[in-house]
């Protein structure tokens, strides 16, 4: 648990969110606080002034490198000081070693990454700190990508939706792909990332960030998937591999809709899966499928599943589930496109009428939606 120790969910900009109200100090208390803080204020101000002056005068030496470290310990949001630090690394630390010595450079950057990690644990949502880490990795020819991925997993254990961490993960994946020394093929990396999203979703179906990433990877894997050299012991995973190889979208949908069904039954109120489901019945999957009968069967089966879930919800809660109804709206649109059945039109309006009552906040969008667009 050493990682979690010292890990803060708040960071400077974030700390403007969700803070409890401050209480009012009396005049005496306020004056006392100011008196107590005065020495620290003076220290901070003079340190800040010194560092900014050093930056202006382009001073690059150990003394200023240490001052910058100190100042960032006070306040990690000073982007100008992070910039100065970058210049100190390239114009001072790198100058102290032989230009061509990759290992020596790596050692300097590894130390820097330790510093950055410490800061990140204090402020896991600070743009500037993540940037600094990325900047370091770009300079390091010996970057350790698997270690970065492990680090990301640890961050995601603490906050599985951290936007910065997911962005960072995609960036690392990009670095891995462009690294000539790294032996894995692009499509293999993508497939391993796909497996990772499966793991995250199985851990928590409400992880929209994971569903999102999955959507991105699926598109890539349908363009290019790992060849037969890759086998997986997990039966389900090797089935996914099979449909990607065959570019079999309908086969994929059959498999994926099972996963989605489990997810919507686990928590029918959770919107994450429903957005993902909407994508599964979008043009990306359906449009190019020529076997209309197969598609029709699939969509109708999905419709039955969603209707059933809605009935269960009605029995349990005495009210229909909005997400089931919204999904039925899309399904009717899709069915109507496939077979132009006037019954679907009727059903479409029937569901919309229900939604206008159950979801009055969004009544206007239900009035405007057309079956035939």
């Amino acid at each position: 648990m050493s990682f979690v120790k010292g890990y803060s969910q708040n960071s400077s900009f974030e700390s403007m969110h969700g803070r409890d109200k401050s209480f009012k100090l009396t005049k005496e208390e306020a004056l006392k606080r100011m008196r107590l803080e005065k020495p620290r204020v003076d220290n901070y101000k003079s340190l800040c002034e010194r560092v900014l002056l050093g930056r202006k005068q382009r001073i690059y030496n150990q003394e200023y490198y240490d001052l910058v470290t100190d100042l960032l310990e006070w306040n990690q949001e000073l982007y100008t000081v992070w910039n100065y630090r970058k210049e100190l690394i390239t114009n001072f630390l790198f100058k102290s070693i032989k230009e061509a010595c990759v290992q020596a450079r790596h050692d300097i950057l590894v130390k820097e990454l330790d510093f950055v990690l410490k800061k990140l644990k204090q402020s896991p949502k600070s743009y500037w700190i993540w940037n600094h880490r990325i900047w370091c990795l770009k300079l390091d020819k010996l970057s350790n990508w698997p270690m970065e991925l492990q680090l990301i997993e640890t961050f995601l254990k603490v906050d599985s939706r951290n936007y910065h961490v997911w962005s960072y993960r995609r960036l690392i994946v990009g670095f891995m792909k462009s690294d000539q020394e790294f032996t894995k093929s692009d499509e293999l990396i993508d497939f391993e990332e796909f497996k990772f999203t499966t793991k995250m979703i199985n851990r928590d179906i409400s992880n929209y960030s994971a569903w999102h990433n999955r959507s991105q990877l699926i598109v890539k894997l349908f363009l290019k998937s790992p060849g037969i050299e890759l086998q997986d012991d997990d039966k389900s995973i090797s089935e996914y591999l099979g449909v990607f190889r065959k570019k079999d979208k309908i086969g994929f949908l059959r498999k994926e809709l099972n996963l989605v069904k489990t997810a919507i039954y686990t928590d029918p109120e959770d919107s994450s899966v429903w957005f993902y489901l909407k994508w599964l019945i979008s043009d990306y999957f359906i449009k190019e499928l020529t076997n209309t009968e197969e598609v029709l069967k699939l969509v109708e089966k999905l419709n039955v599943d969603v209707e059933e879930l809605n009935e269960v919800e009605l029995d349990d809660n005495g009210i229909e589930n909005n997400w089931c109804l919204i999904t039925e709206v899309y399904l009717m649109k899709r069915l109507f496109k496939l077979q132009k059945n006037p019954q679907d039109l009727e059903k479409f309006h029937e569901i919309l009428n229900k939604l206008m009552v159950l979801d009055p906040m969004r009544i206007e969008r239900y009035k405007e939606i057309k079956l035939n667009e």
């Binding site: 969700g18 900014l52 982007y79 910039n83 940037n131 936007y163």
Partner: protein
């Protein structure tokens, strides 16, 4: 006289969410020019007005204080009359009752907003007192925009001396590259450069940039564009749809957009759209309502909204951001937050779908996040207020057509009478 300037230049822009509890700061950590005892006396003398709601700006001469108090009193008087008229009408016609009640609630709320603005005026440019206040420099230019933006939207454009504000903005120019930093001696960045130009635009002071300064800032912004059409925030390489928006708005304000810049930027933005219709930070990253705003804003400035495929899915995703409390969230399954009243609402407005959410419920949510005691708006009910959420709360209310607020432009996030003077792209020669 110079204390406002001092408070801007030497002091920090306050109320970035820091404790608001102290009054007697000026004499302690101010620039050594104020007289603590006298200020406390002024405070005691006028604080009774409005049941203690209205505070006093130590940095403004007493006479000015009195004048603005009189102004407020007159306005409040008018509101009282309006309220009485409303009451009479309600009695006359029962059918009008509901409408009138909401009108009354609005008047009451406006009154609170005005009281708040008076308080805010004191706090926004207060002298720094505690350590946290000294540590907010990296957001100073943004805070200036949020604070002044709020004041402009509530029609209090003269709270600060225009010259002093403009001088402060100019003092943040980064001589090494021509952009604006967040504070004097801080590096230029796209975020602070846009805030600086927005502040200048509000004061109609863009023309006060010298030819050289103007060339410098244009050059800075243009030099941040990368070969793929995206923009970085500064020379250290961070890329984000936010910076494309920053760049296009900066160049739009300066009327320096060109097809070669715009077309590449638009193509890149379109790559950031996701399976759910909304946009992320870079191609491949998760949809986020705030990134939705920056992308739709950039496309709107570029007059390229029609290049967006399948708008309906985006419009639905955005309207799904409204949760039962009436507030809006930024991503699925996240808590609502007042600032999304701006990011989501402005996005819907740009798409012409403001009516896709329940405006009345949202308005109620925003108003419920006011601190009726201190004034200001927080991210959620009963949390600490700050200038950021206050601004985006007020801007959201303005988009909702809230009475007596200036209309806000959903693309530029500036009052529409300010943006109406900006030449629209593509330029006709």
């Amino acid at each position: 006289m110079s204390s406002i300037l001092n408070s801007i230049v030497n002091g920090k822009v306050h109320n970035l969410g820091y404790p608001l509890e102290i009054e007697e700061v000026g004499g302690i950590h101010g620039s050594g020019n104020s007289n603590l005892r006298q200020e406390i006396n002024i405070n005691d003398g006028t604080l009774q007005d409005m049941g203690g709601h209205i505070g006093v700006d130590f940095s403004v001469p007493v006479e000015t204080q009195r004048m603005s108090m009189t102004k407020v009193r007159t306005l409040i008087g008018e509101l009282e009359i309006n309220k009485n008229v409303t009451k009479a009408l309600v009695d006359e016609n029962v059918n009008l009752r509901e409408q009138m009640n909401s009108q009354r609630a609005m008047l009451l709320s406006l009154q609170q907003q005005m009281q708040f603005m008076m308080i805010e005026r004191r706090h926004l440019f207060r002298h720094p007192a505690y350590l946290v206040h000294f540590m907010a420099d990296h957001l100073k230019m943004n805070a200036l925009y949020w604070g002044l933006g709020t004041l402009f939207l509530v029609n209090h454009t003269d709270e600060f001396s225009r010259d002093e504000v403009v001088r402060f903005v100019f003092s943040c120019i980064d001589e090494s590259n021509g952009g604006f930093g967040a504070a004097p001696n801080h590096d230029a960045h796209m975020l602070s450069t846009l805030s600086a130009l927005q502040v200048l635009k509000m004061y109609d002071a863009v023309g006060e940039l010298s030819l050289e300064q103007r060339k410098g800032v244009v050059q800075f912004v243009k030099s941040m564009q990368l070969p793929d059409g995206s923009f970085q925030g500064d020379q250290f390489g961070e890329v984000d749809t936010r910076f494309v928006y920053n760049a296009l708005q900066c160049l739009s304000i300066l009327e320096e957009l060109t097809p070669s810049i715009v077309d590449a930027a638009v193509d890149w933005i379109l790559q950031c759209q996701n399976f759910d219709g909304c946009f992320g930070m870079v191609p491949g990253s998760e949809s986020h309502a705030a990134q939705g705003f920056t992308c739709l804003g950039a496309l709107s400035i570029a007059n390229a909204l029609d290049k967006l495929p399948n708008k309906e899915i985006l419009e639905w995703w955005l309207s799904d951001r409204q949760v039962d409390s009436g507030g809006l969230n930024g991503r699925p399954e996240k808590l609502p937050d007042v600032c999304y009243s701006w990011w989501v609402l402005s996005s819907l407005a740009m798409l012409g779908k403001l009516h896709y959410i329940d405006g009345k419920k949202l308005q109620k949510f925003i108003l419920s996040c006011q601190d009726t005691d201190k004034g200001g708006i927080s991210d959620r009910k009963d949390k600490e207020v700050d200038v950021y959420h206050t601004f985006f709360g007020i801007a959201g209310l303005s988009l909702l057509g809230y009475d007596d607020l200036r209309k806000v432009d959903p693309i530029y996030c500036l009052p529409v009478d300010v943006t109406s003077t900006i030449k629209k792209y593509p330029y006709s020669h």
